[in-house]
Symmetry: C3
Subunit: 207 residues, 3 copies
Amino acid sequence: MTPPLLPALPPLLDLAGTAVFALTGALIAARLRQTFVTLCFFALVTGVGGGSVRDVLIGVPAFWLRDPWVAPVILATALVVWFTPHRIWDNRLLEWADAAGLAAFAVLGTAKALAFGVAPVPAVILGVLTGCAGGIIRDVVAGVPSIMMRPDLYVTAAALSATLTAIFVYLGMGDWWSWAIAACAGFALRGAALIWHLTLPAYSRDT
Amino acid sequence: MTPPLLPALPPLLDLAGTAVFALTGALIAARLRQTFVTLCFFALVTGVGGGSVRDVLIGVPAFWLRDPWVAPVILATALVVWFTPHRIWDNRLLEWADAAGLAAFAVLGTAKALAFGVAPVPAVILGVLTGCAGGIIRDVVAGVPSIMMRPDLYVTAAALSATLTAIFVYLGMGDWWSWAIAACAGFALRGAALIWHLTLPAYSRDT
Amino acid sequence: MTPPLLPALPPLLDLAGTAVFALTGALIAARLRQTFVTLCFFALVTGVGGGSVRDVLIGVPAFWLRDPWVAPVILATALVVWFTPHRIWDNRLLEWADAAGLAAFAVLGTAKALAFGVAPVPAVILGVLTGCAGGIIRDVVAGVPSIMMRPDLYVTAAALSATLTAIFVYLGMGDWWSWAIAACAGFALRGAALIWHLTLPAYSRDT
């Protein structure tokens, strides 16, 4: 593998995305009346799951093994959820934060894959996985219907951000601004889906 | 790791196996009335899941990150399923195609593992995983009973092909013909199970 | 990655842990009335699942690909379960053996992660995953409620062993005796939970 061309997403944004996903994981465990240890576990797999899947498929060590901030952020998130009534999180704010994390991770995942020499289409797929795989693992282990099974424009928003990122890099525009645009586009699409309840059509060819 | 001794299975056969498994993934999503994006996701995890599990366990990048054909084949398969009534796939043809993919992947997975210096018994296990893991991930994410839980001669057919491949390589016969024989043997066993409804006995020691 | 500083846990203890976890996997398959091939599969994923997750996250080949003993031990365990009535295993002995495996794997996983240069907190997390991930994969594929969802002091015991291991290494005491102490502490906590039915409090902030 080529040496990593460090993705230029501001580290704070990256950590914020991890925290948001960790929050959704800890909350699902809280709603299922689990213990603090289980809250930590779900915060972990949801927060770092997508990036870990990306990294093991690329063939590099998982990003959170050497980052001194990721694990403390996960733990702090689980503590916050443990000491607050879960109803205060039951609002649109969480969905909007999740949308921001989804878009940021899709861009970051695609950029990291391209930096390691992955071909464009697989890089877009890895970007989508970075945004979505944490939630899928969370749902599978919790035994609840997977986010993949909902008709929301969710994965599609991640795909938009990832595709734009790959196009910008291909056009030689792989700088911070182009990635901000790619992230905003996915965030806007997910936001539109949240406001107007946009869904994709379901398969219905039965005849 | 030693440099890869490229498996000699014809790339077209390899791609055909990916397409067949992607087809079974897209069809399960169609039967669950999912969206096109979800069809693509299931085509992806079923088509490349087995080979990805093999590659990350060996410690190399997933094969589809550098192959320019795998991702387009997955997408094309999802498109075909999306635009056709799923009943036309509801037949024996699909099961026979799946049997061919299973046998081909078991041989390919074992050969790749051996080429990377994996010991014979673990290489056979990796070959079986290459054939079966995609279907297992598909079933777990879809929330349907896993293929592992059926008494069919399914995993056993993959084990036959993988074991023969390892034996042939051990005997210094690791060429294209020996692998074709190994694949045909597994395919024939799976075919016999389909025709005569062969099953393995279930555990029944209760006393 | 730095070259591996081989963990000093006696290989026999390591194999014994693998066998115990493989046993719990094969038994769940037997209770679900599965075939011998499925027993082998569950013995495999439960016995080597935790260590495999650890290794792919670190970015090294899975440990059982080069170990000549792991695969035969898995197979032998499946054979033993297949030929015995499962009721003879239905006792406290199995839970105590599982507790020993859990503690040993948590120590071994943490030590291996530290030896590869992983930071202390992520190393503790990898140790916990080494002890628990095999059981989680087993439960998810079998479709039974996950071990994560029970209020037992189970993950907590693994966390105790892993944390002590990291502290001992940090203090420059990373020798065989310190690891034995770390393993015994986790084993004792799990044992206390088994004897006195200790559980963690569940989340209950509803107001």
